[in-house]
Symmetry: C2
């Protein structure tokens, strides 16, 4: 079966079948879909309709699909379900990391209630342990399901034990070797298991040169390690080296996507994680904080200009280039800070010092400034017939470009140094400051030049 395409006709057909309580039809439409597709389908349904669909599916499929749902939709669904059912039928059939993620969205009381009702005590214990970790650390990302072998076993024993353990593990990528105290020793690749004779000891074939992370390693660092070294799974150890779990690449793909989206949203001045299919109220709440800050920036800018009303009535030609100066300052500032933020995010800044970065940025700014100032100089010379204006605009534009470049480089580096997300420096904050400074620089230069010319 290929990729499923969700259509309006499909949803209408499904809603009709649900309304008629035509179980066979609903099952035939949904039963063969993959978990992620079922989650997409139920996202288009009312909560009660979704509940009806899940009640028809087998527990494993329901648990997988519910894992794939958006948080807010899952929350709606869970409100309608008894804790007993959530514990026995859903959480009990999820991988430990997914179960912990899902539970962590619920209230503390509900978490405890559900944990106590999970029939498999070992599973309940694993989930409770995982819930203790910060969700933005390796501990919060890892699953406890993995294949664990003792370095003293031979391959025969190992394969026999793996058969037992494999029933609880969805995907086997690596087999982890531990000693008698569960201290992590290294990785056995499936390739080595296949290639060596059955009497070989694990000791002889495991790879001791294996990257590990600690349970408290930040998620972003885990992502950059797995990305850099092209890993599909990474073992997680505690402070004394015991193997606690493994992180798989599918969870890291989500971390990478989330980090990129967060940077993108900060740059566009959106303060919460929203989707375009969220409702008007959520969208407004996510968008208005930065707009209010920008509004206050605008008020500051208006105060700057009101200091120059005398000059502006004497030299009214100055007015017409105000929006150009502010716009260019904003554009240059965003470019500068975006390059730094991206470099920080993907660790590509290399060994350059701050001074080297600033020197280079200054070089770029001078080149950009010269080109753009010359263009506007030529334009004004031809069309405006005012030397004072021509020179003012070009000198101000050059100065604003230099200022915006340096400012856009320093701010994210500074924020990063004091452990604040540098991506904050790419959004409305930088353009607002550039606007105010741009207009100030422009009018000060204009005043001087118009007075002397």
């Amino acid at each position: 079966m290929q990729s499923f395409e969700l259509t309006r006709a499909y949803i209408e057909g499904l809603k009709e079948a649900i309304e008629k309580e035509d179980n066979a039809k609903v099952l035939s439409m949904v039963g063969d879909l993959r978990a992620a597709d079922i989650a997409d389908v139920t996202a288009e349904l009312e909560t009660e309709e979704a509940q009806f669909v899940y009640s028809l599916l087998d527990k494993e499929t329901s648990a997988d699909a519910i894992t794939e749902m958006e948080e807010d939709e899952r929350e709606e669904l869970f409100k309608e379900l008894p804790p007993e059912y959530i514990a026995r039928e859903l959480i009990n059939n999820m991988d430990s990391d997914d179960a912990a993620d899902v539970l962590s969205e619920l209230s503390d009381e509900l978490q405890v209630e559900i944990l106590q009702k999970i029939p498999d005590i070992e599973q309940a214990g694993d989930i409770a342990d995982l819930l203790a970790y910060d969700e933005n650390t390796a501990g919060g990302l890892m699953a406890t399901e993995l294949i664990r072998v003792n370095i003293n076993w031979n391959i025969f024993t190992c394969l026999r034990e793996m058969r037992k353990q494999a029933e609880n593990v969805d995907e086997i990528y690596y087999v982890y070797a531990v000693d008698d105290n569960n201290i992590f020793k290294g990785t056995v690749t499936l390739k080595n298991l296949l290639l060596a004779p059955g009497t070989t000891k694990i000791k002889a074939i495991y790879d001791p040169d294996n990257l590990t992370v600690h349970t408290d390693t930040p998620a972003a660092e885990v992502a950059s390690i797995m990305e850099k070294y092209n890993l599909v799974a990474l073992p997680v150890i505690d402070n004394i080296g015991r193997l606690k779990g493994r992180i798989t690449i599918d969870d890291i793909v989500d971390v990478i996507r989330d980090e990129a989206e967060k940077d993108y949203q900060l740059m566009s001045g959106i303060s919460e994680d929203i989707d375009s299919d969220d409702n008007v109220w959520m969208l407004t709440r996510a968008r208005i904080p930065w707009l209010i800050i920008a509004l206050f920036g605008g008020i500051l800018g208006s105060m700057v200009i009101s200091q120059f009303t005398g000059e502006l009535s004497l030299y009214p030609q100055l007015i017409i280039f105000i929006p150009m100066i502010t716009a260019m300052g904003g554009n240059v500032g965003i470019q500068s800070s975006a390059i730094i933020v991206q470099g920080l995010a993907n660790n590509s800044l290399g060994l350059e010092s701050t001074a080297q970065k600033l020197t280079k940025e200054l070089g770029v700014a001078v080149m950009n400034g010269l080109v753009l100032s010359s263009l506007i100089f030529a334009y004004n010379l031809i069309f405006t017939h005012s030397y004072a204006l021509t020179i003012s605009v070009s000198v101000a534009l050059f100065t604003v470009i230099i200022f915006a470049s340096i400012f856009g480089t320093i701010v994210p580096l500074f924020l990063n140094r004091i452990k604040i997300d540098p991506a904050l420096a790419t959004g409305p904050f930088i353009t607002t400051v550039d606007d105010i400074m741009g207009v100030l620089i422009y009018l000060m230069i204009g005043r001087q030049l118009f007075e002397v010319m």
Copy 2:
């Protein structure tokens, strides 16, 4: 060994060892590093120094590290190396997909010369086949190395054949089942191979419900399928269903990262793929095109204002809020288009029609507009003592917010419809149009209101 940290002291020590041609020291410093770390190290060296380091390492390690290098640095290095050496020692030791990627950066003549010198004819053939695919398709991403078993084999035969094939495959995630004509039938998980008795036929245990992509499926679509369904490897088939290769998640992580970076750069008005450690010339070239477009936008804006010089000298208070109006229009427009672009990029727009999206966006715009206009209304009422100005600014701000929201929503949807990258609508283009329209709307409203009040 844990993650390696690159320091200036380390590079200085290494450069010194290279200068003294102290082979033992260089090898002790570099020999045990992972491929990605070696690539980071050689990025900090001169080309000749890097060449010296690679000449000391074993071929496999060199090939892996060179695969991990940045394209421009690899290009520099290859200029210094004889094609014979590149073919025999480097390309011959790379996976087919990496080899094709590396070769595709070279001139056509050099590609042919190197291909002819690869000692393993089968490998050379695979690479030549891969080079024929567009790099932004599944064919361009896939590797030909995979484990292939016949559905008529039993598990014993299968394991014996896998041992043979495994020598050429770095990582085994899945085993692919084909019929006698190499038509892809499905996937055998390692778990199933472990759990079933040895005499079981593959036919009985393979999973026929397996997603595949075609060699010409676009890379972005491959990425979204693998991301959505949490896959680590995906088989690639041709038009008659023959198994041609497999795509692994590490390549897709790169696609996801690249897509996100491209959107981020377009939003920040950067037109080429650059890193902060590129040189001044490359950085300038990537940044100036959008700045020039924004400059022309600024000139258009200045023409709009010059139509209102009469009014502005009559009502000079209007001037001081010009930057605020343009800034707010820009900020709102970027938010609107960013939400749409992100929704298009991660397929989260759901089944909403364009009309529904616009209605919702209008709702958000009205709410934002009311809040912000009220704030500036209150401010002006208290501080500016001009009813005409107070009302003009608030009405204009409200109108500009509505315009920028609708425009920022329509443009990316329209670009996407006509198959142009919608992310183009998030950068300087949208802010420039919003600036011009903002100033026009503001001054027209101001003129009307000042005349009647």
